[in-house]
């Protein structure tokens, strides 16, 4: 049975249905009073401009919610593989640095979640051979534009920030977040072009 829990007096949280983040955001934003939606790996939060009113039927309907009708975008990011962790990642995965770069650049990714910092997109589709746990010691400062991997994800840091992911390179053809918002959006198909 679909249930939800209060997240304060203007939001609710519930278990994520087995749908894409894009489809969930599109459907939940249409609920009366909803102003914002955040989709995480296992949870969804809906944010209201008034005390929330949610029915179980609304949540259950998300399991069959249609995808956002807007076309999926294809985004190319110009990449230079110059990251400080290339040799370390190569050693841990038992491959050459050239192999690591080629593997990362050959894959097609999808934006499946956004969080952590404005415009920070969690990209799925990382080749299994590159899956590594986070670094044991996070860096106090990762430069903006850094291409990074950790667990099953790759991402590009939109802003300089602390970070515990392995750094493979840099996106060199523009900022990931600007006055018009985030360069990557939920659902985008993303390729890195060396």
């Amino acid at each position: 049975m679909a249930s939800w829990t209060p997240l304060g007096d203007r939001a609710v949280r519930f278990a994520r249905p087995d749908r894409s983040a894009r489809a969930i955001v599109h459907a939940v934003r249409a609920w009366p009073g909803v102003i914002d939606v955040v989709v995480a790996r296992g949870d969804v939060a809906a944010y209201f401009d008034r005390p929330p009113e949610v029915t179980w039927a609304q949540i259950e309907a998300l399991a069959t919610a249609p995808d956002d009708p807007a076309p999926v975008r294809d985004v190319w990011l110009r990449a230079v593989y110059d990251g400080p962790d290339l040799e370390d990642v190569a050693a841990r995965t038992g491959r050459s640095v050239a192999d690591v770069c080629a593997l990362h650049a050959a894959a097609t990714y999808r934006v499946e979640m956004m969080g952590f910092a404005p415009g920070f997109a969690y990209l799925t589709g990382l080749p299994a051979a590159l899956e590594l746990p986070r670094r044991t010691t996070p860096r106090p400062r990762v430069p903006a534009g850094s291409i990074a991997i950790a667990t099953a994800y790759t991402a590009v840091y939109p802003f300089a920030s602390p970070g515990g992911w392995h750094l493979l390179g840099t996106v060199v053809d523009g900022p990931m977040f600007g006055p018009d918002g985030a360069r990557l959006q939920l659902g985008d198909r993303v390729r890195f072009a060396p």
């Binding site: 209060p6 997240l7 949280r13 956004m114 952590f116 404005p118 918002g181």
Partner: protein, 259 residues
């Protein structure tokens, strides 16, 4: 130009009601730390509630370059003549607002006119800066209802499994102090650590006012620039009506909670 900044100590930014509607892009809601105080200042000079005003976490000295009507928080408006200087400090609170008749002019970026430091939107106000006023039409102000005095009200949850029995009771029975390390992202509370279990942390959606508890047990109340997702469990969430009162308590000041 209308105002020239002669002195800016601490963090001074232009703020409005924020940028709702972009959290799915990991953009926090932003906006004024104490929304009710921003609204009170705006209404005092017949501005709409969402008119951009100056948020002062520290001290600001400005000089009027022409006759202008200003107001701070809920106080009555005052007229500044060209050449008048005005000093405004957030003390004895943590934050004060300076509203100018017509609003402060600021470009609309990404749905809002205020600074969102974490997203590089809008800037920090600096000495020598010249501020223009916008031409927002006069509105008839409605009084700002006074919040009843008393402890800050909480909604329990949503992660009770991550806390021992009595953790919320301890939070409510104890007096906490606003840590000087607080910022617009989070307000840290000095006081008895909140006991929590060591269940694995899962990155989950966050909300303004959420009281998250890291490993050391120091509660952090998320502010307008909070990350949209986070891994620390939430013991309770401050009610929306009490957020401004909590965030206006001066650094080092005492706070108590209630259910």
């Amino acid at each position: 130009m209308t105002l020239t900044v002669l002195r800016a100590l601490g963090l001074i930014t232009i703020q409005d009601l924020g940028r709702p509607g972009r959290m799915h892009e990991a953009v926090p809601p932003g906006g004024a730390l104490a929304i009710d105080r921003l609204i009170a200042a705006n209404r005092a000079v017949h501005n709409p509630d969402d008119a951009p005003a100056l948020e002062i976490l520290g001290q600001l000295v400005v000089r009027a370059e022409r006759d202008v009507e200003v107001a701070s928080d809920g106080r009555p408006p005052r007229a500044l003549a060209a050449g008048d200087e005005l000093t405004l400090a957030s003390e004895p609170r943590r934050v004060a607002y300076l509203a100018v008749r017509g609003g402060i002019a600021a470009p609309r970026l990404f749905g809002g006119r205020g600074a969102l430091v974490s997203a590089g939107l809008g800037g920090v106000i600096r000495v020598g800066q010249r501020l223009q006023t916008a031409q927002l039409a006069r509105v008839r102000p409605v009084p700002v209802p006074a919040r009843p005095a008393g402890p800050i009200r909480l909604v329990a949850g949503p992660d009770p499994d991550h806390f021992g029995p009595g953790a919320l009771d301890l939070l409510i029975a104890s007096e906490y102090r606003i840590s000087p390390t607080s910022d617009r992202i989070g307000t840290r509370l000095d006081g008895p650590p909140v006991p929590r279990t060591q269940l694995p942390e899962v990155s989950r959606p966050m909300v303004i006012g959420a009281i998250e508890v890291p490993h050391d047990g120091t509660p952090i109340v998320l502010g307008p620039e909070h990350p949209t997702t986070g891994g620390y469990p939430i013991i309770a969430v401050v009610t929306r009506a009490d957020l401004g009162a909590l965030f206006a308590i001066r650094l080092g000041g005492a706070v108590r909670f209630t259910r």
